[in-house]
């Protein structure tokens, strides 16, 4: 399901429920920062399980063809290079991942098990036009583009974002997952409090039961199913594409 950021709620809306559940409306048992961090943790955990925050950014291609993986990115989805500007995209190429490629940067050559000079390799021989090889590898948290990419102006990265690093606290919680996030944060906070007072053990157990994080019958699974579901429009169009069957 395509989520709508303008519907997102704030962390405080979740905390309004969590604090009542824990009987700590004055936020004296745990610090306000601790509570906020647990809500962010819940969103991050959910995003790692079922991505719901696609991010697309454009970066100028530097001379050394090395681009830092953006902060808040945890799953690269697409890499495109293009000439022009982000507002006036002209020629575009898809950049492919090359396994096992290692390089120091532009014009320094590279090593790989499958190298384009592998013309004498008895097992794997390649025959590709070097000038059309747009590919990348990732080394030490940085994206190394191939030399052929130097003729392009921008690289457009599309990736899954870590919510706590990409969203503001005021607009962070999709309403579709609010119940799961509330229960997750309640469970973790109650877990932190149970060492002080055993009554929080019961609260933790109740929240964990309703959440069922690793099972299929709780709010966590429900949230994942909601996010995974296609919009009706998408569903209808896919059926239409498939039914056409290229005829």
């Amino acid at each position: 399901m395509e989520i709508n950021p303008s519907n997102f709620g704030s962390i405080k809306e979740v905390l309004a429920d969590v604090l009542v559940s824990l009987n700590d409306e004055a936020q004296k048992l745990l610090t306000p920062g601790f509570y906020r961090s647990k809500v962010k943790d819940a969103l991050d955990e959910l995003a790692f399980d079922i991505t719901f925050l696609p991010v697309t950014n454009d970066y100028e291609i530097p001379d050394n063809l090395i681009v830092d993986i953006p902060k808040g990115c945890f799953n690269l989805r697409q890499i495109h290079i293009f000439t022009g500007t982000p507002d006036d995209v002209q020629y575009v190429e898809n950049v492919y991942w090359k396994k096992g490629r290692h390089t120091r940067g532009a014009e320094t050559g590279y090593t790989a098990d499958v190298h384009h000079w592998n013309v004498t390799d008895p097992f794997i021989q390649v025959s590709i036009d070097e000038y059309s090889m747009y590919y990348f590898s990732v080394q030490n948290g940085r994206i190394y583009l191939s030399d052929a990419c130097s003729g392009f102006d921008y690289v457009r990265l599309t990736f899954d974002g870590i919510p706590s690093m990409n969203l503001d606290e005021v607009k962070m919680v999709p309403p579709e997952v609010k119940k799961a996030v509330t229960l997750w944060a309640t469970e973790k906070c109650a877990s932190a409090l149970k060492i002080r007072d055993s009554k929080y053990r019961a609260i933790q157990a109740d929240a964990a039961s309703q959440l069922d994080e690793y099972g299929l019958s709780g709010a966590w699974h429900e949230a994942k199913m909601r996010l995974r579901r296609l919009d009706k429009k998408q569903m209808k169009d896919i059926i239409e594409y498939n039914s056409k069957m290229n005829y």
Binding site: K28, T31, P32, G33, F34, S37
Partner: protein
């Protein structure tokens, strides 16, 4: 409004101690009222979630010149509740331009010096002007996270206790005490008064308490070896 005087003279009257040279003076009973009311009020406040006895103050913030720590001094004695709960809240003064009441937007969170190190481990908990903390050391309340801003005043709501050593309390001041507990207080004071009035006659060390017949009349003879008469001592 109930004044201290009303309670004190009620007790003195019931104990028949309102004549000159009485054993109990008004100030002695006044002291009893303070110490007993202090205990009862503390129990009441621990049990009842009420704002009836919370007093807000606007207090001046000082800076320790040696280390730059911000602090303010408690204006009166407060109850030493668990986790410094004698301090209901600390926030910026209303002069700070915020759309909400200041205590509803930014509150200082309680910590201790030994626990505060962990706060710096995580960005969300790190002390800052938007996420400030306080800790108590004796009569001073130190502020954490506001070192980089010039904070001159602070609003603090305190749960004040009775201070028997406070010489500024007047008998005609308002007795800020839950009225439903006055019968309990009175009973405790009457018990204490009766007990105290019973003490003097029994405890004066003049020997009058001994019965003459109980005094030993026979010569006490030691069972140890008796000394021999002078001149017959053996070498």
């Amino acid at each position: 409004m109930v004044s201290y005087r009303l309670v004190v003279f009620d007790i003195l009257n019931d104990l028949k101690q309102i004549y000159d040279d009485a054993d109990l003076t008004p100030f002695k009973v006044f002291y009893w009222v303070l110490i007993h009311a202090d205990r009862l009020k503390k129990q009441h406040m621990e049990k009842i979630d009420s704002g009836a006895f919370i007093t807000p103050f606007i207090l001046t913030v000082n800076v320790e010149p040696d280390n730059g720590r911000n602090y303010f001094t408690l204006p009166a004695s407060i109850y030493d509740f668990d986790k410094d709960d004698g301090i209901d809240y600390i926030t910026y003064t209303p002069a700070v331009d915020l759309s909400l009441p200041t205590f509803a937007s930014v509150k200082f969170t309680r910590t201790t010096p030994s626990k505060s190190q962990r706060l710096y481990f995580r960005e969300e908990e790190t002390p800052s002007p938007a996420n400030p903390y306080f800790y108590r050391q004796g009569n001073r309340i130190y502020l954490l996270g506001v070192e980089q801003i010039n904070i001159t005043e602070i609003e603090a709501a305190l749960k004040l206790s009775f201070n028997p050593l406070d010489a500024t309390i007047d008998l005609d001041d308002e007795f800020e005490f839950p009225s439903d507990l006055i019968p309990v207080l009175k009973r405790q004071l009457l018990d204490l008064g009766r007990f105290v009035l019973n003490i003097p006659k029994d405890a004066i060390n003049d020997g009058a308490g001994f019965d003459a017949k109980a005094m030993p009349t026979q010569k006490l003879i030691s069972v140890n070896e008796q000394p021999v008469a002078n001149g017959n001592q053996s070498e």
